[in-house]
Subunit: 298 residues, 3 copies
Amino acid sequence: MRHYISIRDLDRNQIDHLIDRAARIAVYGADAQPLKRKILGLLFFEPSTRTRMSFESAMLRLGGSCMNLGGVEVSSMAKGETLADTIRVVSGYADTIVLRHPKVGAARLASEFADVPVINGGDGAGQHPSQTLIDLYTIHQSMPLDRIKIGLVGDLMYGRTTHSLAYALTRYNAEIHAISPKGLGLPESLKHDLREAGCEVIEHDSIEEIIRDLDVLYVTRFQRERFPDPASFFDVAASYRITPSLLQGVKDNLILLHPLPRVDEIDPAVDSLPYARYFQQARNGVPVRMAMLLEVMQ
Amino acid sequence: MRHYISIRDLDRNQIDHLIDRAARIAVYGADAQPLKRKILGLLFFEPSTRTRMSFESAMLRLGGSCMNLGGVEVSSMAKGETLADTIRVVSGYADTIVLRHPKVGAARLASEFADVPVINGGDGAGQHPSQTLIDLYTIHQSMPLDRIKIGLVGDLMYGRTTHSLAYALTRYNAEIHAISPKGLGLPESLKHDLREAGCEVIEHDSIEEIIRDLDVLYVTRFQRERFPDPASFFDVAASYRITPSLLQGVKDNLILLHPLPRVDEIDPAVDSLPYARYFQQARNGVPVRMAMLLEVMQ
Amino acid sequence: MRHYISIRDLDRNQIDHLIDRAARIAVYGADAQPLKRKILGLLFFEPSTRTRMSFESAMLRLGGSCMNLGGVEVSSMAKGETLADTIRVVSGYADTIVLRHPKVGAARLASEFADVPVINGGDGAGQHPSQTLIDLYTIHQSMPLDRIKIGLVGDLMYGRTTHSLAYALTRYNAEIHAISPKGLGLPESLKHDLREAGCEVIEHDSIEEIIRDLDVLYVTRFQRERFPDPASFFDVAASYRITPSLLQGVKDNLILLHPLPRVDEIDPAVDSLPYARYFQQARNGVPVRMAMLLEVMQ
């Protein structure tokens, strides 16, 4: 039985296989209802509407059904029930479980008690492998994944999305440019892991100093609560904002990604420029998750 | 691509076509699963269970699937995301979107950013075209729509349902009797529009003075918060309440409509009289919405 | 039209028929999508995730669809609407309604106004017939239902689950051992009914004094709010806790049941012993509810 718990569990071949499968689905569609009569159970202990919606859309497009396995309500209602007990019960109701949980390690634990496949839909500061696969797939739509120069912008200290993507890119010998204000850079341990795995990691204070060299710019949000006061948050947010003028002189084939929702990180005037790929990236959630669901249930 | 945003966008032929299609569905049923593998996305930024449920039931009866595209949760979660961004993302997950939103104009805006059809499920004090189509369809089940004499009862100043219905009836040369307490009559601008479009509009203080002449009596609720104090609310509610004795002497084929839920506006003793059509009207939500869904997705 | 309101409405033949049907489904599966295009409406006026989930899973496995008919939201939104009106409207949206309601008698009332079958998913301190059928089915998987010696543990004064099960077992001449602290024993009227129906009912203060004679031990939770203070709750909970040592010397074929979720009533060390059947019991919710849905909709 296959689970998807961490992007680190997947080698390059497995990632390439999923990307290929998603690409074929996006072009040719899936077979007629391959997952007919199958049930995808969504067990979300914290809200994550985008993740839930694109898994649900993916499952419906494959002819299957979805059901809400509770989560927030279960946890408040059944106070004191262990995650192990919950998983043992609900894995009788569904053919695969997507679990979203606030605690790191919850998905791994769940996979030990479930007798159906478990897909990690995000476990706290831990892993969220489908998001990383979507990011890789979106890059792959524009260029080969090997040896890209990628800039990661935002709160790189706490940003799960950028950590997982950076780690996955070690499979493809990326050159990683970490762009963040002081104090919000990549954790030392992650930088060590990335270099160990053969990636070059270069740190920057500003986007301007590196943007013209990049193939991919991956933008994420700053969390207001990481800053001592609103003024310093707005200062940082303003100086890392992506605008049309910042994009002058970049490579023709630069692509701009963002896991969405965005607030002010990217000026809406950028949306109509050829670099903008973040809405396409959001929609790629469906074919990538279709590929994952087929892997575990077909 | 066809959207349904306002009843004003539909001419008489288009309304008649929808009513005919709904009538055929109600009698013969739909083809076997015409919307198989299609997904209806429900994006409700304010609760409206009846509208949601009857769209959902309509979609399921056509062989399709439904998914909740968030709404209230999305808006609280993704603080600061624009409606345009939300629509661009979620229109990748569904084949049609039903949008309910507290702000007038939201559905029109959404239809500009969606690349799938948008059906307005109510935008604040604005439009709610499927409700009006249900009202027209229910009247049509009992009599031709042309030149009916209809009484509208309730808070006609703020009542979206009665405004849309009145407007739609201009297509059929109705004689409109507006029955409301002082201060809650039809807005001047609407009366002007209705008369401009060729309808006669007559205002009344009491139901008694006109009920014996009517073909249709359309009853709506008074909002308690429109009244200065509970006593004046109860006075008004009592004097506009529909009872068996009020109905003595009415036309044999009078029909009584109400968009439901009712509280005290109609005495339950009226339910078993032949005039009562409000439960039938509620159920007509399914075939009418089936017709609308087929129009936009088939 | 068949409703399922109370286990008391079912005679022994009807129960046996449902158990057989569930058993055949569990072994052979259901036909291909027997309830295709049918809609199960879930009307839950109080949360009950396990009941909802297993009905939903059962319906999906039969090829049908489910929809949430509101409940908690409806009731807050449509303040003042009667249950009769709600049922009249929503029974236009679904082919069967599962109703969960805090008030005893609500399901019976609903069945009078619905023109589709109503299944009681629990009405306050009243009935919850599908839970009892699951309990009977799980016992039947291990032994014939006739003349079993069953121990009921927990708050037997207020415990709906144990009352319904005890009542159903009168059809099978069970010997009922009621095990509870003073003040939380079976109500006098129920003991009278059980004896009237030919069952022997014996009361016990402790599990130890009877456990070695039992075929089935049915464990339920104590509600903390029934106790004057936390200390007396913990005292009772500890002395009625099921542990491996308590189980020494029991019959080889004793089975342990619990409606779940459990908190501390059963030591997790018991889970791996052959007596533990509570997870199997939870999963039996699906085939038993499949059988019920087929009875009312096929």
